[in-house]
């Protein structure tokens, strides 16, 4: 094995390790919400993902998630909260509110219809 081969192989293996870490092991930090008139409200930009995608809220208080889809790709056309049986269509460029009141601690995941884009509401 010459130097070039060693470099190529080491780079390849490093890349694999980076992929595993970046896509699977990395833990995202949650975004705290602001309270507007007693409602925990946050703007979520939908473009190739949900931004922010981890939202920390308090239990027992209404939550309003304002989704704004800024792309035409059909993947993100829909946001689904399977756990609480809610879903919403997200027309491009329009702000769509999803509201609920979490009554127990835990996580409420949301995702696009195919599960490629994901986010979650962490109820603390």
């Amino acid at each position: 094995m010459n130097i070039a081969q060693i470099i190529v192989n080491v780079t390849g293996i490093t890349l694999i390790a980076l992929i595993v870490w970046y896509f699977w092991l990395y833990r995202k930090e949650g975004v705290q919400v602001t309270e507007v008139g007693g409602v925990q409200q946050v703007q979520i930009k939908v473009k190739g993902g949900y931004d922010p995608d981890v939202i920390v809220v308090k239990r027992g208080k209404p939550v309003r998630l304002l989704f704004n889809r800024q792309e035409a790709a059909m993947c993100s056309e829909m946001v689904i909260f399977d756990k609480i049986d809610q879903s919403a269509k997200l027309p491009e460029g329009e702000t769509v509110a999803v509201e609920f009141t979490p009554d127990q601690k835990g996580e409420i995941p949301f995702q696009c219809q195919m599960g490629m884009l994901r986010g979650k509401v962490v109820v603390a």
Binding site: I13, Q41, V98
Partner: protein, 767 residues
Amino acid sequence: MVKDPICGMEIEPEAAAARRSHMGHTFYFCSTQCADTFDADPHKYAHPVMDGNGTKSAIASAPTAVESSCCQSTDSVAAEEPVDEETAAHEREYKSLMRKFWFAAAISIPVMLVAYPELPWLYLPNLFVGEASETLIQTLFILSAIVTLPVMAYSGRQFFTGGWAAFKHHSADMNTLIALGTSAAWIYSTVALIIPSIFPEGTATPFYDVTAVVIALVVLGQALEVRAKGQTSQAIRKLIDLQAKTARVLRDGREVEIPVEEVLVGDVVVVRPGDKIPVDGEIIDGRSAIDESMVTGESMPIDKAIGDEVIGATVNTTGSFKFKATKVGKDTALAQIVKMVQDAMDSKAPIARLVDQVSHYFVPTVMIISILTFLAWYNFGPSQALAFAVVTAVTVLIIACPCAVGMAVPMSLVAGVGKGAEHGVLIRNGEALQTASKLDVVVLDKTGTITKGKPELTDTVPASGFAAATLLHFAASADHLSEHPLAQAIVTGAQDQGIEVGEPDEFDAVPGHGVEAVVDGRQVLVGNIKLMRRYQVETSRLEADVKRLQSEGKTAMYVAVDGHAVGVVAVADTIKEDSVQAIQVMQELGLEVIMLTGDNERTAKAIARQVGIERVLAEVLPEDKAKEVHMLKQDGRKVGMVGDGINDAPALVEADVGFAIGTGTDVAIEAADITLMSGSLKGVAYAIEISRATMRNAKQSLAGAFGYNSLGIPIAAGILFPFFGILLSPILAGAAMAASSITVVSNANRLRFFKAKSFTETAEVTA
């Protein structure tokens, strides 16, 4: 013109600076400041519109009954509008993708020609330039490098922006794979072109064609997918098209025609013959027969008068009336049906949750496989290992199709739920659909489900020497003033047969016995044996008939005129016309059909015999119905329970799948997993058939998508090369990837042509 709810300014919707959807209403704003004010407390400003149901909170208290206030087509006042927008958005997306495709395709052709310099066309110029062909090829490659840049930047833009956006979210999708694949091909080609010396001998071959052609193919695939997706949700469109566009209301004493979205709760709506009823309400003046077939499945028009409810989207026949709007916008029965169908389409079947877990790991895994492929070829490949390594790694990235996997179940679900809705079968969600496909027992409530739920005159048996018509005339006239349902059945039955029913001169109801009356100056008794004994009427010659009728599950009543028994009339809860056929279809589907009733064993058995049911659970108290269902479940069986909604509710909930039969009212819709808008049991058979077909379809697509990926990726990696010398071209991989996602959508579209055993053409209910 619409009104900005904040400042009250009148604005054109198109010219609005912002728009918001709240509680099913769309609001337009003159400025972003107004929109911001609205965002702070939408409910406060939306309130005037909500007056009609002021108790309704903007925010539901528990996740089980969460209120979605988004602007989905479904809960909007103008349910029509967002769906049109959605269709328009899909059309725009399709056109934009097609433009991108044509651009990429136009550039792909010359780039392809250049990519194969060994082919004859490149030698043509040699005739003119002689020895310069080496330079010419070099120049053509440089040109290829330049022209493929706009293909990436324009046609393939969404792959890069989408892939990057996903990457920022620590996720990866199809865009990531295509972006990586095509850009890796371009970068490798360019480096090979500029500094060929860094590559081992013979590996410095550019392949710009991969970049251009793959982008063209995948974009074409996406365009076709957008097209096909639009078709799967046509069912919703059909439902929404039922809605009236305008309403004629009284405002300030004048009749004005306004868009249906502007009708408020409390408005008085004027309906003329042939009009479509715009919203739900209660008749306050006039009367008419109303065709409700589109909502309830009932084919005969129903007579309605003051105080009766009318349902939006149903059609008035010949009368005129005024009604007060009680439900508008998303609260109407139609809007709720649309919302339910839409929600079901957007829900997850349990099988899809599993797939979601897979898709989370899918794309990064493909990236890892691609790197491993590269290393394997690089280390162990034949001569020109580097070129092979790059091509195979790129091919792996391109052939993998996460979309096909992710789309399989949702696409079939949308098509299946839509198909159900077309036949008046409302499936609550993907879970209900999946469970319905696995049912092996169907428990049917008797009264109101198998039978019509109200007694009808079935037999008229005159004693010898007495005419049937005369018998019926006496019996019906005597019963005319009675409010007892059995008496009413005799009166209606006689009238239906065209027999004159008169007013009795005297009338006396004897509770628990029957009636005594004077008709045409003669004493008439209609009632049971106790009544006959009381008046000492001799009945022995009719007893055999009575026994026979009772054994058929009917209620038989003696009729006596002037102290002589003149015949027997029988009344029974009759079977709905198509119950027999529906039950037969269920049995053909391999389901055991069980009848559950609170009625006595004899009546129950009689009905069961007529419809071909063998197992009967009779004399079950209402509160024990759920227990019976529970016991069936404990035998490890998947139980579907069919009932008419209200008294059967606990059993419906207990069952694996609860079917509410009959009305299109909100109560029934709330109670069950599957609601049958028509009163026919055929809906149950149809629901089971369509759910089986849908799950079969989803599994086909899923198996296809997994099969495709698990075969395609190893082949792309070159697994066949050591044995057969076969290596997949990245261009073929691109075509395969585009084809695989189109296949999934097309397979789901096949469901639209699904033909069920339970519905003949004529029996179709327009939903």
